[in-house]
Amino acid sequence: MASIFFIGAAFSQVYTSSEGSIRFVSKTDFEEFEAVNHQPSVAMSSNGKVQFRVPVNSFEFEKKLMQTHFQENYMESSKFPNAEFKGTIIEPDNFKLKDGKQEVKVKGIMEIHGVVKEIEATGTIKKTKNEVIMFGNFDILLSDYKINIPKNNINQISNTITIHLEAKLEPKKSKN
């Protein structure tokens, strides 16, 4: 009986994304722009572990020149092609995924441009029978990740970037 309890406690269902997007917004007094990435890979477990990984080159800008600068000069995507977050839901305590909507706080390690930093983010998780919808928002400082804004771009690009994540997840399937 005790061994069944421990096996039950250790098992947690993993959900992975079937659709999702990450959008970041830069806003200064002079300019506002955003870029969208439709290829984040997102996963969470029913006991509150969360992970996402984003290919940097999948961020799409309206203007080609901005896209080139972002990839080559700021993010150096050929050296650091992915950004990644790995963390755990800290609020509510002892999180368990259940049907309905839950407001959550997540804490974990964000890696961007080869630099790792601990961050916290808030979000909501809504579960229906076989689907989990996740929304998350947080701010990062580019300077924390050694992404330097040239002096002549300081009015156009904010050091504070707001990141919005949304994803639809389903129980992880194994490939046959």
Binding site: S41, M44, F52, P55, N57, K63, K64, N82
Partner: protein
Amino acid sequence: MKKVGLIILIIVAIAIVTGLFLWFQPTSKVADGEADFQISIEALVNEGIETDDSLFNDKYVDKVIQFSGDVYSLNIGDSQSEIQLDPNTDETVIVRASFDPSQNSDLKKITEGDSVKCQCKFNGISIPRDPDDLLSEIIVTFSRCTIKK
């Protein structure tokens, strides 16, 4: 003197127009033209695992690659569409190829299980580093894809 002034004015005007053109030029939605590489996903993944990350990324990231695979899943949307391909490798690999909505008419002719050839911009490979990663597969991502006949 007047002629010199006129020539300088013309050069400045051309420079301004060129600058404005470059600044406002939209991002391309499709990786068309000649492919930089034609390579199997298996070979790409093996090279990604065995080669130094910097060398591999310098060689392939942001380049146009042509490759084939069987359609594992298909998701056609208004803002973005995606095919996941089964590359028939030994490793657990997910290949994600995203398409601009302009390609939806070609995608609607495809069903799961079909064999397709795609030409895309390669965005990178992510290889799980920790045994406890929830994202436990090797994920290969492409964007600006087209279906090649």
